[in-house]
């Protein structure tokens, strides 16, 4: 087991103006499950492949434990990787696939068989050891790929979107299996996904990337409650946070007709006359009575059992703005009605409109 450190690690592909990964600084603790998340092309896979040694590092360093691995060949890094398409060896049986690394390392036949069997038990693959990958289902192949990593007992697990080839139901199931397996084995894991739900449910901490630049690292709770900028605010959370411009007065920020009292230190960080305000759907209160707040026309209510999501729109600075709010499953306004919404004031996020940076302190942080 070991920690992993990215120290200003940079990857610049030849003939491209902008680095794919731009001076990434990241410390991953021993035994931690860290998720790299971001939209496609954000550099998350490249970051992982740099750690694996499959991608050159053009600047900075990467350390596993105390060892600088920046210029070390993949095979000497003591890491195991699970690929998106699993990359199983098609001509080998499941047992041979899982035992290949041990065979290369010169581990004896009996110990190899024992370790493969142990991993197979862990993953419920005992009955399939003699089969070729061709004769397995997608979920089983995924488990073999996991098994191949586990058998090696490496310092670090690397997983590159290992669930994206599974169907929705299996993905949810496997997601919890992987997370609990990782906690049981206690191996440092770096996991890449574009799916923020996967990131929130699996990671000890999450690193959000965009355009090769690290936006924020934190626990799922931190990312939900205190997003550092507009991008993180909009990317993490489902349904996404409501984000729209709001006018600033001397005393605070206007939410429709309601004034949200705002401390002076926060207002001092505003440039111009407006801020971007962010409110999560679960932090919105709805009242049918005309009063203070934002007037919203209800378009649709999505019933999800205990809860429902109200989709509506409002006029903000002359532009139609979509608003999502969580409502009670049984007692909610219906489509076509007009309601007034007001945020839970302790969970309002304010961002500088120009820079996108957060300007108000987050509740409880």
């Amino acid at each position: 087991m070991a920690s992993v450190t990215y120290d200003k690690a940079t990857r610049l592909y030849p003939n491209t103006p902008r680095p794919a990964v731009d001076s990434l600084d990241l410390d991953i603790a021993d035994g931690e499950f860290l998720v790299l998340v971001g939209p496609s092309g954000c550099g998350k896979s490249t970051s992982l492949r740099m750690l694996a040694g499959l991608e050159e590092v053009n600047g900075g360093r990467i350390l596993i434990g105390d060892k600088d691995v920046t210029d070390i060949a993949p095979k000497d890094r003591d890491i195991a990787m699970v690929f998106q398409n699993y990359a199983l060896y098609p001509h080998m049986t499941v047992a041979e696939n899982m035992g290949f690394a041990l065979k290369i390392a010169g581990v004896g036949k009996e110990e190899r068989a024992a370790r493969v069997l142990e991993a197979a038990k862990l993953l419920d693959l005992e009955d399939y050891l003699a089969r070729k990958p061709k004769a397995l289902s997608g979920g089983q192949r995924q488990r073999v790929a996991m098994g191949r990593a586990i058998v090696r007992q490496p310092q670090v697990f690397l997983m590159d979107e290992p669930l994206s080839n599974l169907d929705a139901k299996l993905r949810v199931q496997t997601r919890t299996q992987i997370a609990s397996l990782q906690r049981r084995l206690g191996v440092t894991t770096v996991y890449v996904t574009h799916d923020q739900t996967e990131a929130l449910t699996m990671g000890d901490r999450i690193a959000v990337l965009k355009d090769g630049i690290l936006q924020q690292v934190g626990t799922p709770r931190q990312l939900l409650d205190a997003p550092q900028n507009v991008f993180v605010a909009g990317f993490i959370g489902s349904p996404a946070m409501n984000l729209f411009p709001a006018d600033v007065t001397e005393d605070g920020v206007m939410f429709g007709t309601a004034l949200l009292a705002t401390p002076r230190e926060t207002l001092a960080k505003v440039t111009g006359t407006s801020v971007t305000i962010g409110v999560r759907p679960e932090d919105i209160e709805i009242s049918p009575i005309e009063g203070k707040g934002l007037q919203v026309q209800v378009d649709l209510v999505e019933e999800l059992g205990a809860d429902g999501y109200l989709y509506g729109h409002s006029e903000v600075e002359g532009k139609r703005t979509d608003i999502v709010a969580r409502v009670d499953g049984r007692d909610h306004p219906n489509a076509g009605e007009t309601v007034y919404v007001h945020p839970v004031e302790s969970h309002v996020h304010l961002f500088n409109t120009e820079s996108g940076e957060r300007i108000n302190p987050a509740a409880g942080h």
Partner: protein
């Protein structure tokens, strides 16, 4: 197609107008038109027959329509196959047991082959050919394909090795005859290889006159031609191996050689078999190179050349047919193996 045909006839005429006088020209054109007329009538008749058959097949009773349509489409191919392949094969098989004049002689032809010293040399030579050419052509082609994979100028490097494929066996034979050409010591050498030997201070060598090495010098020619084929097929097959598999193997700790043995070779196994068997079959049938370079003299003959010589030069049709049968029996296991591996490969993918 018609226009190219017309052009190929008209072009030489246009180039040498003086060669033909007016009278001959007229008769030539009359002749030509007559031939074209016959051709058009033939094509029209052919289309009419095809049309009629298709029409009848379409109008066949509903229940058996599929069968009739199948027959209408398959029959022409089957008939041509029968005339061009099956009947000659059967006839050759029969002739192998005759003296060529329909007198049955039992296995005499085969006894002659396996007791005649010359024929035994041919059989041995053919064996040497079929062991050497596929092995070296594939090994060199594979090595080359692996080393130039993803290198700069890969396409140009590939073309260099592939180009000999475009040269006919006869052409290659003539080219290499010049390479091996020999003149006595003291005379200016015309052959490249002997010139090199003279340059480095050695005696010129009669490459094609000294058995058993002359057979190997002929074998080099076919290897030179077939390496390009092996290289192109194997290179495409190497590129079809998913990159992730190679990356996974590297992460699993495999060295370059171990990746090659455990991922690349199994990944291209099907293509390897196709390449080796295809080259083997081509090698068993080798004729042109030997014919043009040595005519089979100095113990360089191979079965296909003897088959031709016996049947068409010496009029020993029985001997020729027997040799053809032996060649067929030698090719057969290679083809069967090829088919079986292809079928197995399909199950893996």
């Amino acid at each position: 197609m018609l226009s190219t045909l017309l052009y190929s006839v008209a072009a030489p005429l246009a180039a040498h107008p003086g060669l033909l006088n007016t009278a001959r020209k007229t008769s030539f054109w009359n002749d030509l038109w007559q031939k074209f007329g016959t051709m058009f009538v033939g094509i029209a008749a052919f289309l009419a027959v095809v049309g009629l058959i298709l029409f009848l097949a379409d109008r066949a009773p509903k229940r058996s329509r599929d069968v009739w349509q199948l027959i209408a489409f398959v029959a022409p191919g089957l008939i041509l196959l029968g005339i061009g392949l099956i009947y000659p094969a059967l006839r050759t098989g029969y002739q192998a047991f005759t003296d060529g004049k329909d007198n049955f002689v039992g296995v005499d032809n085969f006894v002659w082959i396996f007791t005649s010293g010359e024929m035994l040399v041919s059989l041995l030579n053919t064996l040497i050919w079929v062991l050497c050419v596929p092995f070296f052509a594939t090994a060199i082609g594979l090595t080359y394909a692996v080393f130039i994979d993803k290198s700069r100028g890969e396409k140009a490097l590939k073309s260099l090795v592939f180009m000999p494929m475009a040269i006919s066996f006869v052409g290659a034979g003539i080219i290499w005859s010049f390479m091996y050409a020999y003149r006595s010591k003291g005379f200016a050498q015309t052959g490249l290889l002997n010139q090199i030997l003279v340059w480095i201070g050695l005696e010129p060598v009669q490459f094609l006159n000294t058995p058993p090495w002359n057979t190997f010098f002929l074998i080099v020619v076919l290897i030179w031609i077939q390496t390009g084929f092996a290289m192109v097929v194997l290179s495409a097959s190497i590129k079809a191996i998913p990159t992730e598999q190679v990356e996974a193997a590297r992460l699993d700790g495999a060295s370059g050689w171990q990746v090659f043995r455990n991922v690349t070779i199994p990944g291209i196994r099907g293509s390897l078999v196709v390449v080796i068997t295809t080259i083997s079959i081509a090698t068993l049938k080798v004729f042109d190179i030997v014919k043009t370079m040595t005519s089979g003299n100095n113990k360089t003959s191979v079965i296909a050349l003897d088959m031709y010589d016996q049947a068409f030069r010496f009029g020993e049709v029985g001997h020729g047919a027997a040799l053809a049968l032996i060649l067929f029996i030698m090719v057969l296991p290679v083809v069967i193996y090829n088919v079986r591996v292809m079928r197995k490969q399909r199950e893996i993918r």
